[in-house]
């Protein structure tokens, strides 16, 4: 089990003044499954390739168990990588593919066969060793790719958007598989994805990247309950922000004044972050009043677009609520579900 440390990792390409990855700092504990989440082009794959050694950082260091590995070439680093396309070697059988890494390490043929069969069993494809790559479906190919990457018992296991090419039902199956194998083998794993739902379901911790830098790192809950910036909150599906003034741990807005004990003390202009779920119907006298602009039935809940103080908000309520377009909706905010992010003039 390997601890991974990325120190001030930066990557700059010759033809681009802006670095693709800027001062990336992260520590991942042994055996953790971390998701690198972010939109396309934000640098997640670049960081991954620097960890694996396929790219050399312009600045910064990569440490495995407190030892720098930056000068070690990829084939010696014992970091295996699964790419978006399975990239199974077409001229080899399934068994030869899975056993490839072991063969490069000059292990004995019998040992390789045993390990390969064991690994195939783990990915639910036992007996497939002699099949040709051509005969496999997309999902099977990706499972073989997983097996191939894991059978060599790497120190770090990297996955670059491994599920984006699969259809929805396969994706869920594969997520479960990746999770269970990772837990079983206890290998430090990083999975890159642009799908926030996937990151939340798969990972112990999420590292959110935007424009080449790490924005926030923590458990999935943190991104919903305590996003660091407005942008991060938006990335996780929140569009409701009310301008206000923060004093200490309290924020004053036209919606009211709220005190959040978990907030870091500060005095500044800020946004009150109201998640769609942080709203409930209230018939009390001090309830806020909103005009309903539209109602969308989502199956398990209902999404309303409402108008309050000339601002549009998106909220979700139980499907039993039946407010129609034009109705007045009385509500109040659930205080322990609110959060505050700094006000940024440039946005």
């Amino acid at each position: 089990m390997t601890k991974l440390q990325l120190i001030d990792l930066t990557k700059r390409y010759a033809n681009n003044p802006e670095p693709s990855v800027k001062n990336f700092n992260l520590t991942i504990q042994p055996g953790e499954l971390v998701a690198f989440l972010g939109p396309s082009g934000c640098g997640k794959t670049t960081v991954l390739k620097m960890i694996s050694g396929l790219l050399t950082p312009t600045n910064g260091d990569v440490l495995f168990n407190d030892t720098s590995v930056v000068t070690i070439p990829p084939e010696k680093r014992e970091v295996s990588m699964v790419f978006q396309k399975p990239l199974l070697f077409p001229h080899m059988s399934v068994g030869e593919n899975v056993g490839f890494g072991l063969k490069m390490r000059k292990q004995k043929k019998k040992d390789i066969e045993k390990k390969v069969e064991k690994m195939l069993k783990l990915v639910h494809l036992q007996g497939y060793a002699s099949r040709r790559v051509k005969e496999l479906s997309g999902g099977q190919e990706q499972r073989i790719s997983l097996a191939r990457g894991l059978v060599i018992e790497p120190r770090i296991f990297l996955l670059d958007e491994p599920l984006s090419a699969l259809d929805a039902s396969l994706r869920i199956e594969m997520r479960e598989l990746i999770r269970s194998i990772q837990r079983h083998m206890q290998v430090t794993t990083i999975c890159v994805t642009h799908d926030q739902e996937e990151a939340v379901m798969l990972a112990d911790k999420i590292a959110l990247m935007l424009d080449g830098s790490l924005q926030q790192y923590g458990s999935p809950e943190i991104f919903y309950e305590q996003p660091k910036t407005k942008r991060i909150a938006e990335f996780f599906g929140c569009t409701n922000f009310v301008k206000g003034v923060q004093k200490g741990k309290t924020i004053q807005t036209k919606f009211g004044t709220y005190t959040l004990p978990k907030l870091t003390e500060d005095n500044r202009d800020a946004y009150l972050v109201i998640r769609p779920e942080a709203v409930e119907i209230s018939h009390e006298s001090n309830a806020l009043k909103a005009k309903v602009k539209s109602r969308i039935f989502m199956g398990t809940h209902v999404r309303y677009i409402i108008d309050v103080f000339d601002q549009e908000f998106q909220i979700t309520l139980e499907s039993a609520t039946v407010y129609k377009e034009g109705d007045i909706l009385p509500f109040k905010l659930i205080e322990n579900r609110l959060w505050v992010v700094p006000y940024d003039k440039s946005k």
Partner: protein, 286 residues
Amino acid sequence: MDEKSRPWLMLLPALLIIVFLFLGGLVFCLVQSFNYQPIIGSYTVNLDAYASIFTDKAFLLSLVYSLYIAFGSTLLSIILAVVTAMALRKTFIGKGLAVFTFQFPIPIPHIVSGVAILMLFTQSGFISRIFNMMQLVDKPSDFPELVYSNNGVGILLALIWKFMPFIGISVLALLQTTGLAYEDQAASLGANAWQRFRYILLPIMKPAILSTSILTFAYAFGAYELPFLLGGVYPKTLAIIAFEKYNNVDLSYRPQSMAMSIVITIIVVSLILLYRKMAVKNEVSS
């Protein structure tokens, strides 16, 4: 015009040319090789021409020599093509110019390559003069006989100049696309540079190498222009002795020249059919 016959109608003019000129030419050559020459009043049909050429030491030597030229030029071209393509496959400053240089010889006629080798590598050629300036040779005869000699080196050089980029560009295309992705994958699994080359890149390159080298072999085997320009008095390639016999004032040598040409044709066609069989087998098993 119904759908089934449509493609055949579109192919008709081309097929006519091929049948009448190409196949027709071959048939007439075959017939004349059987000694059937109405021109001199010979209406017999026999295998005398074949018998005589296969017992002719000069012919057999030419056959071996032609095989030597074909194998030698193709093999060396493959090695150089692979080495160069491997060096060019990644992105680097000046790659555009490098690739342009690499594929430069492809549209240049073979004859030009021959003229260049002629002016460079004869004993009094440009290279010899450079060697003289560097005091490596005193007089022309000190310089090795590469052109007009029985080692055929001049011919090989001219052919390699043309063949290497032809094979190389095909290989480079594969390396740049499929090759690169698989290389990264193999490296992350622990394969070092040599292992990546041997287990991943070489198998990927194989089809491109095979298909292009069949073409170069066929061309080199039946070549006339370059061996004529650069070759020695003895041995001569098959095409040259066949043409010499054809031009002999004594028309009774015609059947032999025809027979020689037929032998060249049969060898090349067999090679092509063999290659196609191999290619199909590879596809089925992999």
